[in-house]
């Protein structure tokens, strides 16, 4: 059992958890993830380790409630327990001094990109963050990123905050304005990562994305997380999760992630009433 020592909503539907997991806290590197299982009968789902504190033995995860498990997780509060947390899994981000590094986060992807943005800064890069959301409330971690990055640009699709438009438009603007960019990390919904890849491709800017296939074990045992990169099959949990954006077959990834769509909706429906109550309670407590 892993204790939640702090839980708070960052935005509607996006919640930050600080969890007691001293071993993982001591070992994890930027880019790695954990797999959690909430309870007996629960699903195993991967979540990026957004941060850690070795002294307190805690890790931070930031979760967007999109289906049964993430919504159930987001109904948990400080003092609650998670049955299983395993990690750190996956390869750590490849960090070096590139020069100017741009990290782009879309929605909860900002949380996944955050630890790598920190590591890029620590490696001596001039670090720029572009963080997107549909609307103002969905732009997360701006203050946290401002503390580590040299430049931070929030963007919103509806123009309610920051740059009006998509993260890719902001990126294009930077490039067009003559900012020399040596490295781009993009994490978010698949269409966004694909758009970033296409934006940087003509300029030959090294671009890395973090893939989010459905996983089971997270240790290379099942092959369920396989993706196509450079026309070869990779197991994202052990070979990744980060890959060269210009070589990823995003269409296959998007398609494979739809495998359980019907079942997922069924599972969600089953628990909706139960969860709605808990979720609203959670919102009340935190706001």
């Amino acid at each position: 059992m892993y204790k939640i020592v702090n839980a708070e909503f960052l935005a509607e539907n996006i919640k930050r958890f600080v969890i007691e997991a001293p071993k993982i806290a001591a070992k994890r590197k930027a880019g790695q993830f954990v797999i959690i299982r909430l309870n007996d009968g629960g699903e195993r789902i991967p979540l990026t380790i957004a941060d850690s504190e070795t002294a307190n033995g805690t890790i931070t995860i930031i979760v967007q409630g999109i289906g049964k498990t993430t919504k159930e997780l987001n109904s948990l509060n400080t003092g609650d327990f998670i049955l299983d947390v395993v990690g750190p899994l996956g390869k750590a981000s490849h960090i070096e001094k590139f020069g100017t590094a741009v990290s782009i986060g879309g929605g909860v992807g900002t949380a996944i990109a955050y630890p790598t943005a920190v590591a890029l800064k620590q490696a001596g890069n001039h670090t720029i963050s572009i963080i997107g959301g549909r609307t103002r409330e969905l732009v997360i971690l701006e203050n946290e990123l401002k503390q580590v990055c040299d430049e931070v640009y929030p963007t919103t699709d509806d123009g309610s905050y920051g740059f009006h438009g998509f993260v890719t438009q902001k990126l294009k603007q930077l490039i067009d304005n003559g900012t020399r960019i040596d490295f781009v990390l993009a994490i978010g919904p698949i269409p966004m990562m694909k758009a970033v890849a296409e934006t940087t491709r003509p300029y030959g800017i090294k671009t890395v994305v973090s893939l989010n296939p459905v996983m089971v074990d997270g240790t290379g045992m099942c092959g369920g997380c396989r993706a196509t990169v450079d026309n070869k099959t990779v197991f994202v949990c052990v070979d990744g999760p980060e890959f060269d954006a210009h070589l990823v077959d995003f269409a296959t990834l998007e398609r494979r992630n739809r495998t359980y769509k019907e079942s997922e909706q069924e599972a969600l429906h089953e628990h909706l009433c139960h969860f709605d109550k808990a979720f609203e309670q959670g919102l009340k407590l935190n706001n």
Partner: protein, 472 residues
């Protein structure tokens, strides 16, 4: 034991295993074989000729004292028989169910030369179940504590048997398991209908009661490396991580939706209990009234295809490139699969998978094969028949063509020697690796093999580790 002549004994027919009806069981996940009654067991035991030179024992990888235990069964001393087996085999309830007896002990049985061999496996299962039900698991004497600590990586049959021996020798033992549940392939691979999970759990509970410490969610290499374990006070390490890397066919269309590795399909259903979805959260492709093809002919393939039938598949095929005679699965599993309505498409090989515009699997192109000259394995090599390709419409595919080695330990322990397939190289007698104090056994050394070999390797390593710890 009643005095029976050899002739009388030979006249007793092999006793049938009571089992769930084929049609009924293909709709449930309960165990297929129900086990011998006391009467059936005694009668079967009387078939044993008590040979002066019991060759059956040569067929057993761990040399269970078969003749002696069967003698005890015939006399009705079932608990005595169980103890006799346990001198050599730590997991008889498991092995009695899953060992390929027809290639091992029963293949050597003298009674089998002219008729049907003594049902050694079924007797083994009977006495193990009898002991568990009547006595609970017996707690053996533990030697005084030595103060030495051993880390065992992996909780499959190899790790469990090594843990059992080492705790009895007085060492402190911690078993580290990557998954959230203990038992290795016995829980995530082999289905409930062949090996009820309660049996595995009983074995693990008995090790817990002896003081073995189990840590789940510990992926060694990531959570701790082997070097870190040794720095943190473990005096020896036993690597028993199995062969957990699924092979794919490497053909077109393999990443279509609806194509699984057997590991993923079986893990979702067995470990994550997808057959109880949505009561349990993990889904699996809904095969109800659909057509499923499983590629391969081993135990894993049989498990996957029979599982799909139980999930409601209308048609379930085994597709195997050689013929019936070469199917590597246990004979009983093949027999059971046929009874359950599984169709065998033999001498057929997949060329490519075919999908619809949304990327869902709709079919597989197969090519017919014929058997040519024997290959390196001594089996006749299947060769494609020119222009014999055809398309079979299928909705789900499971690839069950074997497992390679998971690279995590190799990548994180540079001073252990591996062969080119990623198997750990060990000294055959001591199971010692190239790294001091580190031993290895089971599928990670042999490649995918059997429960009994994994268990035997675990015990061999336990003996060597015990010696190593006494000397160091």
């Amino acid at each position: 034991m009643p005095e029976l002549s050899k002739k009388d004994r030979m006249k007793i027919p092999r006793q049938p295993m009571p089992e769930q009806d084929g049609v009924v069981r293909s709709g449930n996940f309960k165990e297929v074989n129900l086990g011998f009654t006391e009467e059936l067991a005694k009668m079967e035991a009387l078939r044993c000729l008590q040979c002066p030179k019991p060759v059956c024992i040569d067929g057993c990888p761990v040399e269970v004292k078969i003749k002696d235990f069967i003698h005890l069964v015939a006399e009705g001393d079932f608990l005595g028989a169980a103890s006799k087996i346990k001198e050599d085999n730590m997991l008889p309830a498991v092995c009695g169910r899953v060992c390929p007896q027809e290639e091992q002990c029963e293949a050597k049985c003298v009674v089998g030369v002219k008729g049907e061999s003594v049902a050694i496996g079924r007797l083994e299962r009977f006495v193990a179940d009898y002991e568990r039900e009547h006595l609970g698991l017996k707690t053996p004497e533990l030697k005084p504590k030595t103060g030495k600590k051993v880390a065992i990586i992996g909780s499959g049959p190899s790790g469990l048997s090594c843990a059992g021996d080492l705790i009895q020798s007085g060492h402190d033992v911690t078993v580290f398991e990557a998954l959230h549940e203990l038992g290795g392939v016995l829980v995530y691979g082999i289905p409930e209908f062949r090996l009820p999970k309660d049996i595995v759990k009983a074995e693990i509970d008995s090790l817990k009661s002896l003081g073995v410490d189990f840590q789940t969610n510990a992926v060694i290499g990531f959570t701790d490396t082997i070097d870190e374990l040794m720095q943190n006070g473990y005096d020896a390490v036993f690597i028993a991580v199995g062969a957990g890397l699924p092979y794919f066919l490497n053909i077109e269309g393999e990443n279509l939706n609806g194509v699984y590795s057997s590991n993923e399909f079986l893990t979702r259903v067995n470990l994550m209990k997808a057959y109880k979805f949505p009561e349990f959260d993990t889904p699996v492709f809904n095969v109800k009234d659909k057509t499923v093809a499983v590629f391969g002919g081993g135990n894993t393939a049989m498990d996957a295809v029979r599982t799909s039938k139980r999930l409601g598949a209308k048609n379930a095929y085994i597709i195997y490139r050689r013929s019936d005679a070469e199917l590597p699965a246990r004979k009983e599993e093949i027999h059971h699969a046929k009874q359950e309505g599984i169709e065998f498409l033999l001498l057929a090989n997949p060329n490519k998978f075919i999908g619809d515009k949304d990327g869902w699997l709709t079919g597989v192109e197969l090519i017919k094969m014929e058997l040519g000259e024997p290959d390196a394995s001594g089996r006749r090599k299947p060769v494609p028949i020119k222009d014999s390709n055809y398309v079979l419409n299928i909705d789900m595919a499971v690839i069950a063509i074997g497992n390679g080695s998971n690279p995590i330990i190799q990548q994180t322990t540079p001073d252990i020697n591996f062969n080119k397939w990623g198997n750990i190289l060990v000294d055959e007698e001591s199971m010692a690796t190239s790294k001091k104090g580190v031993f290895a056994g089971g599928d990670i050394v042999t490649g995918g093999a059997t429960v009994i070999l994994a268990m035997g390797a675990g015990r061999k390593a336990a003996k060597a580790i015990n010696e190593y710890l006494t000397q160091n």
